[in-house]
Symmetry: C2
Subunit: 217 residues, 2 copies
């Protein structure tokens, strides 16, 4: 089946959004926690959080200034902080509900039954129910001219994670934490590991490694 520019243009607006949102593949599922100068809390599901680098440890996500994420963006610029909290099989319905267009004075925490908690270091609420919580300090807001969106870049300050999921070699077993993945705009999935693979080198066959990073073959 072939789609080109003409086919896209002929698609109904939401149909096109579902199609284009499905193209890149499976996406991470995170709840971004923020608060404004008055302490008003906000939490919003995002599917665009990505790893930018390990040294320094940077994550970024895309904010559409005219969407529901605009409150998150305003709060992050004001406070200088945000949290990212992994969405699990137990949390994906509440997470999806945070994408409703609530008013600025309404807290999505209250509306969806999620619980805000704080650490000493980060001026933004974590989601108590998430087993993988990341505290970030704003480093850069990068305007993307091509479509008037913004990439928000944060440096990891602290991580709270169930210790059973952290392997000796540093890998975090997201499946042990029942973390979900998103496809398109509204589909949530669990995962099943196919393999961990050895570091690839030219002219050398890959080997399978177990979840702890130990050779299987």
């Amino acid at each position: 089946m072939y789609f080109d520019h003409l086919t896209f243009s002929a698609m109904e607006k939401r149909q096109k959004a579902r199609f284009i949102n499905s193209l890149a593949g499976f996406k991470s599922a995170n709840l971004i926690g923020t608060r404004d100068a008055k302490g008003q809390e906000n939490v919003a599901v995002v599917s665009s959080l990505i790893h930018l680098g390990s040294n320094p440890a940077l994550l970024g996500f895309i904010s559409r200034p005219h969407s529901v994420e605009r409150h998150s963006l305003e709060n992050i610029v004001t406070s200088g902080f945000f949290t990212a909290n992994a969405v699990t099989e137990q949390l994906y319905r509440a997470a999806h509900q945070t994408s409703a267009r609530y008013q600025k004075h309404e807290s999505e925490f209250e509306q969806t039954g999620l619980t805000p908690v704080y650490s000493d270091l980060i001026n933004a609420p974590y989601v108590k129910e998430s087993p993988l919580k990341i505290g970030l300090k704003l480093v850069e807001t990068l305007p993307i001219a091509a479509n008037d969106t913004v990439m928000i870049i944060g440096e990891v300050q602290e991580v709270w994670v169930d210790s059973e999921a952290v392997m000796k070699d540093g890998y975090i077993d997201l499946e042990k934490l029942s973390i979900s993945t998103i496809s398109g705009l509204d589909s949530y999935h669990r995962t099943e590991r196919l393999d961990r693979l050895s570091y690839a080198k030219p002219n050398q066959p890959l080997t399978r490694i177990d979840v702890n990073g130990e050779p299987l073959e």
Copy 2:
């Protein structure tokens, strides 16, 4: 289990890379196809491809100028085009092998057994074996000052996808295509759908929808 800046600094370099790479959650798995002015082909697995917007239809990914992806970046800037090809259960081993540090004159296609194919529109090779192929025109290369990486942004020009996977409402059923997702640096996963959920509205309960977008409840 709590990690802060001090814990990160104490981690061994590759252990830290595995840990930080695991934080954002599940990632998309795509093969980026490019070629240089002489026709030398390149294909590289990336886990950072994300949706930037539907109108115009934009995707972006992160290139580390000093890594194996540098050949892709050079080719994209020269040719103005690249392809993104979804990695499946059948392809993830070959995809992972493309991350080996081959020399510039070595084609990862030849080295990994993947097959390049071309369309009339895009000056870059597709991966024949992939059931979801996206042709993109370079729109912008966005330097990220915080860690000297580059976000490469492309506009979708054409899409080749097995028609059985495209639902009436525009959603693409990635599971029907056996598309994989990545966690950390080296773990590949299949998925199982939990639910598609209705568009969220304030003070209105979510309903489950089936893979075609029809209400289930």
